[in-house]
């Protein structure tokens, strides 16, 4: 692997970001982190990651809004987005469809589950 794939994790829960980062880096991905929606959005535009892991409920800009903003921009619309939510999936999937979210993971999640989903998108 010449250049490792870039993953952006946006979640206001630092502990969750850290564990995710650890496991993804162990898989050989390069990880970037942001702890609120605003920082996440600007970082996404700056680094143009290969994949994003987004939390729904965050300060400043929520996950759906970020997803919508990126998916409507031709420059970023191809970035796969995995949404992490503490709410029930049924509620979220409806909103998610409209905002272009690719995958859902409900808290509490298994790290293996996240990694296999990430691989699905990045190791094609």
């Amino acid at each position: 692997m010449s250049v490792s794939k870039k993953i952006l994790i946006v979640d206001d829960e630092q502990d969750i970001v850290e564990t995710l980062k650890f496991m993804l880096e162990a898989q050989g991905y390069e990880c970037f982190c942001a702890y609120d929606g605003e920082a996440g959005l600007s970082l996404a535009k700056e680094i143009i990651p290969d994949l994003m892991i987004l939390d729904v409920m965050m300060p400043k800009i929520n996950g759906y809004k970020i997803s919508r903003l990126l998916k409507y921009d031709t420059k970023y619309k191809d970035i796969p987005i995995i949404m992490v939510t503490a709410r029930s999936q049924e509620d979220d999937k409806i909103i998610g469809q409209e905002t272009g979210v690719n995958e859902y993971i409900t808290k509490p999640f298994e790290l293996d589950e996240v990694i296999s989903k990430v691989k699905e998108y990045l190791d094609k």
Partner: protein, 697 residues
């Protein structure tokens, strides 16, 4: 004693008359006058009972005087007698007088004439007094009746008091009234209704008077509240603020009554009036003040119930919200713990000794258990709040049952339990949510494994049953259960420790885990079965349990086998209850087609995917057979009268467009919620009725 006014200038005659009338045979007082204005004044004010006019009086003119007297004499019921000369009497005077006496005066005739007139006057007076009293009583009765009618129709405290006051004012026309109303210990209203303004010191003394009257009602030791002047809030209604009442009003005649029902005390009322109250007034007052008590008691009871109800609703909502928020908040830290454990266990963070691995696994197991508990809590709060979304699909329930049985095969094997599935291969198709039925099955099978000792046996069975096969005595905790003809029954029978008869009813209660020696070991939230009950009931099914201590337990549930039409009506009811809460309307379009129709219009519409109808995401379409006819029922949410006529026109034009209208043997009708019916059955039957009318027409 009667008063007689004599108008005469003849002094000799005057003396004679005075002698006769004030003598032994007639005891009247006699006054004489020839001053016209004085005479008129006497009569107008009704100060005399009789006037005797001598024809020979020259001044004033007797005829003119008689004319002037005439109307007020009738009004005040004053008898007018004329003293006339037999031959030359004036006919005008004779006409105007009630009675005449000829001159020269015969004492006896004069006497009987005057006495007769006076007696008549007295009789008429009595009659008119009686009459006016009767009219007043009648009016009071009318007011009483109206007031009691109004009182019976209200549950609002303030309104009740106003109605009573209105009734009192109409029937008694009092000058001032006050009502002391007890809302609670430090919230007491003094409502003063007054004709005129009230001076500040009168207001203060009314407060004190009210308190004193209140205290006087009770034994010293039994006073319900200790009243303080500062706790009293005065509410004043003044009719004519032009004048002012002062303390002198307290000298007016007054009536007083407490307002109470038995031991329950609501307040007291006192009214003042410048004229004295009669016996009838008193009765009226007492009746009214008594009549208001009962509705007041109802009102206060109603208020209590209402308050309790709102409180309960609030608590219920708070509980649901609390559970939901707490569960969400718990999930995030739980995820971090779980992730960390996973990293450690993966060995990627460094070597893990076997002892560490053992404890890390233990931590992980318990985190998994904890998240299961949180999920249970969330599920329950959701299903209780009616926020759980179900995806009902028509399918064979054997599929989720078999899937769950297979999932637990290895767990059962670990305990050396024989887990058997006896499925009916010809099971009817039912409407159910696959994920939820899996959840229920998982709960029942894992419970069975938990409570069955090693080498035991668990049988999972599915079968078709009828309503009559259900032992309804086993079903409880369901309000107004509705049964359908056919069901599929799923049962999980174990050979476990069993449940004591007294505990059987508790198993579906929240947080109830029946005391048993294995309790500790078995863990769990005790929420699994309550959730299962709610989930099954959301499917219109029932769940129940039968058990024998130390022999085993059988949990069974049934899901109704619904016809398309029944399912449609259930969906309709759900839509109606949704529509009720936000006042949306719903439109039912019913199309009927004879079974032997040459060309099926219905299938054509279906093929066209109901393109002729305004179709929204929530439109429900059902096709069913009944009495040799085919029906297509379409439920369109948020459709109004406009949409109704629009759809009718569309169908009309669709039929007309087809070259031969006769080919399509169809009829259609619509029913609108809530205009036509408030329930699914209502809508269906009124749509059917319209169809029938069209057939007949």
């Amino acid at each position: 004693m009667s008063k007689i006014l004599l108008v005469s200038q003849d002094t000799q005659q005057k003396e004679l008359i005075v002698n006769v009338l004030t003598g032994a045979k007639s005891s009247a007082t006699l006054i004489t006058s020839v001053d016209e204005s004085a005479i008129l004044n006497y009569v107008e004010k009704g100060q005399v009972d009789m006037v005797i006019i001598d024809e020979d009086t020259t001044s004033p003119d007797t005829v003119i005087l008689a004319k002037k007297l005439h109307s007020s004499a009738i009004k005040e019921n004053v008898a007018v007698a004329a003293l006339v000369n037999y031959d030359t009497c004036n006919t005008d005077l004779l006409r105007l007088a009630n009675v005449y006496i000829t001159k020269p005066i015969n004492e006896k005739i004069l006497c009987s004439c005057v006495n007769g007139s006076l007696k008549l006057k007295k009789a008429i007076d009595t009659l008119s007094t009686n009459n006016s009293e009767l009219a007043k009583s009648l009016y009071q009765l009318d007011v009483l009746y109206n007031t009691s009618m109004q009182l019976a129709g209200s549950l609002d405290k303030q309104k009740l008091i106003n109605i009573m006051l209105d009734g009192l004012e109409k029937s008694l026309s009092f000058s001032l009234s006050y009502i002391l109303v007890f809302n609670d210990e430090h919230n007491i209203d003094l409502i003063i209704n007054s004709l005129y303004n009230i001076s500040p010191r009168l207001e203060h003394s009314l407060k004190l008077r009210a308190i004193l009257s209140y205290r006087a009602l009770f034994d010293k030791k039994r006073i319900p509240y200790n009243l303080n002047v500062n706790d009293i809030k005065v509410i004043k209604n003044i009719k004519h603020p032009i004048e002012e009442y002062d303390l002198n009003i307290l000298k007016f005649d007054n009536l007083f009554a407490p307002i109470n029902v038995g031991e329950k005390f609501f307040g007291l009322i006192e009214v003042f009036r410048d004229s004295d109250f009669t016996q009838e007034d008193t009765t009226c007052f007492q009746t009214l003040s008594r009549q208001v008590s009962l509705p007041l008691e109802n009102a206060s009871l109603y208020e209590e119930i209402k308050n309790t109800n709102t409180k309960l609703e609030r608590l219920e909502r708070l509980k649901s919200e609390f559970i939901s928020i707490v569960s969400h908040e718990l999930r995030t830290p739980l995820t971090a713990i779980k992730n960390s454990l996973e990293i450690c266990l993966s060995g990627k963070a460094g070597d893990v000794s076997s002892i560490m691995d053992n404890f890390l696994n233990m931590a992980q197991r318990n985190v998994t258990r904890l998240s299961g508990i949180i999920n249970d809590l969330l599920d329950l709060s959701k299903v209780e709040a009616g926020k759980m979304d179900f995806k009902f699909e028509k399918a064979n329930i054997n599929t989720p049952v078999e899937f769950m049985k297979n999932t637990f095969d290895s767990v059962a094997k670990d305990k050396n339990i024989d887990l058997i599935l006896e499925k009916d291969e010809n099971l009817s198709l039912t409407y159910f949510d696959n994920q939820r039925i899996e959840q229920v099955m998982s709960n029942l099978i894992s419970n069975a494994i938990k409570f069955t000792n090693e080498n035991g046996k668990i049988v999972v069975k599915t079968e078709n049953i009828n309503e009559a096969d259900i032992d309804k005595s086993l079903i409880f905790g369901v309000e107004n259960p509705v049964f359908y003809k056919h069901y599929v029954k799923i049962s999980v029978k174990d050979s476990g420790i069993g449940i004591a008869p007294e505990d059987l009813k508790k198993v579906f209660d929240q947080f109830q885990q029946i005391e048993n020696p294995l309790n500790r070991k078995n863990g769990g939230t005790g929420l699994g079965l309550p959730i299962a009950k709610q989930l099954i009931e959301a499917h219109r099914g029932f769940i129940w349990v039968e058990s024998e201590l130390n022999r085993g337990t059988t949990f069974s549930f049934v899901i109704p086998v619904l016809s398309e039409k029944e399912k449609f009506i259930i969906d309709m009811e759900k839509d109606i209850s949704k529509a009720k809460s936000c006042s949306h309307s719903l439109l039912l379009l019913l199309i009927e087609e004879k079974k032997d129709a040459e060309n099926s219009f219905i299938s054509k519409i279906r093929e066209d995917k109901i393109s002729i109808i305004r179709k929204t995401a929530n439109t429900k379409i059902v096709y069913y057979d009944e009495d040799d006819n085919n029906y297509l029922a379409i439920l369109i949410p948020e459709a109004d009268k406009f949409a109704q006529s629009f759809i009718e026109k569309k169908i009309e034009s669709f039929v007309v467009d087809e070259q031969d209208k006769e080919k399509y043997d169809i009829l259609y009708s619509t029913a609108l919620f809530p205009d036509v019916g408030n329930s699914a059955q209502d809508l269906m039957s009124s749509a059917k009725k319209l169809l029938k009318e069209k057939v007949e027409a």
